[in-house]
Amino acid sequence: MNFTASKQPESCLLGPESDSQRTLYPYVTVTSVVALKYKDGILMAADMGGSYGSTLRYKSVERMKPIGKHSLLGASGEISDFQEILKYLDELILYDNMWDDGNSLGPKEVHNYLTRVMYNRRNKFNPLWNSLVLGGVKKGEKYLGTVSMIGVNFEDNHVATGFGNHLARPILRQEWHENLSFEDGVKILEKCMRVLLYRDRSAVNKLQIAKITEEGVTISQPYSLKTYWEFSAFENPTQGAVGSW
């Protein structure tokens, strides 16, 4: 019998208090994922930093994984929930393969499956604390979609999670166009990641870029972006400011 003061009001629909395993806050988190469609498929970028609150604790977190033959999943948010999602997808792909019948789940199907999972968890007040980006190519058709922890999902030519929505999407809206070459796509992604590196507190300067085409998935080795800190505004930051910050 639990004698401590209960935080749940009596009219609560959230189940017995012993059911205290619901997700309330994230603990180890990863930051933005940015992705775009290009000529041959999808390009996705994510850095490798895992934060424990405000501590930058893990510096080699791989957050983009191939799913089945046709999809690539990138995630931001709680790492343990991402690992849980990978387990669900593992099982999904396994059962899909066990049919052994020439049919396979494409990126559209995986995206919708994830949407169902995220939305149903949100309905039970026990969300998987992630924002997911799902990209892929199947039979020449490119697909890029995103799902949030509350089940909001949509497809677009370029998507981002977290801070990426505020810092990267405007760049993408300006510079994205149909049939980008691989080099141009990478250039745009690096531009986005650089802005995120400068401005997102939880970003680290160690990133991977992944591409998925009809042939398959390639995830680059980790590398760093060149940064520039010699802007004159940085030399005397308070020069033009009324007051300082």
Binding site: W99, D101, G102, N103, L105, G106, K108, E109, N112, Y113, R116, K139
Partner: protein
Amino acid sequence: MFRNQYDTDVTTWSPAGRLFQVEYAMEAVKQGSAAIGLRSKTHVVLGCVNKANSELSSHQKKIFEVDDHIGVAIAGLTADGRVLSRYMRNECINYSFTYESPLPVGRLVVQLADKAQVCTQRSWKRPYGVGLLVAGLDESGAHLYYNCPSGNYFEYQAFAIGSRSQAAKTYLERRFENFTDSSRDDLVKDAIMAIRETLQGETLKSAICTIAVVGAGEPFHVLDQGTVQQIIDTFETAAEQEDPATEPDAATGQEAAAEQGTAADHGGSTDEGAAPMDI
């Protein structure tokens, strides 16, 4: 087949390794009115003969739309067929909801076969007494499958089941090699001709047959009587001698049958639902 001491339970083997109850269930399929199916690379056509108990009643619904891309024609215990169609519709709609993608026909057919197999291995159940011709389209092309009460399924280029189906099968066997590259309209014509074979002399008119098509860019639907009659007219006038005599009969017979026929046929394809008399 004769009665013997091993045919009481489905869970009893005969010494020769046969399950008689399952075989008896397959007999039920042979007694039902004919259903045929044929496919090309891009389309699948199903057809069936409409049998009514009496002139006063409507005929039984034997073709069911399962999803936009799958339909089924049944022969045998139509009640069992109706229940299985409901199962198939459920599976399709659940898959569509989760994956926003149509269920591949091959997978639906395997699920159906596994469901039928269960009934051959439980002492408190009986096998489904219905054969299903499942027609569908998916990423890998057009498919026609036959699901048996035994839990087996086979893929076919063309097939016929039910009573006097052998006549249709003979007709189809002669021409199936051309089906892959057939146009949609030729395929429908062949389906109607195959139906005619099972009628063996009875006049072919749209009131006594139902035709349904599914194809690339064409969701599964039952063709309306007018269209079917037009197609019948095109080759009846060319082929048959007694046509001038029977045409007026067909026309008047059409009108009378049209009322009940239309309601019944349309029930397969529109939301007006099956005519109340059908079930």
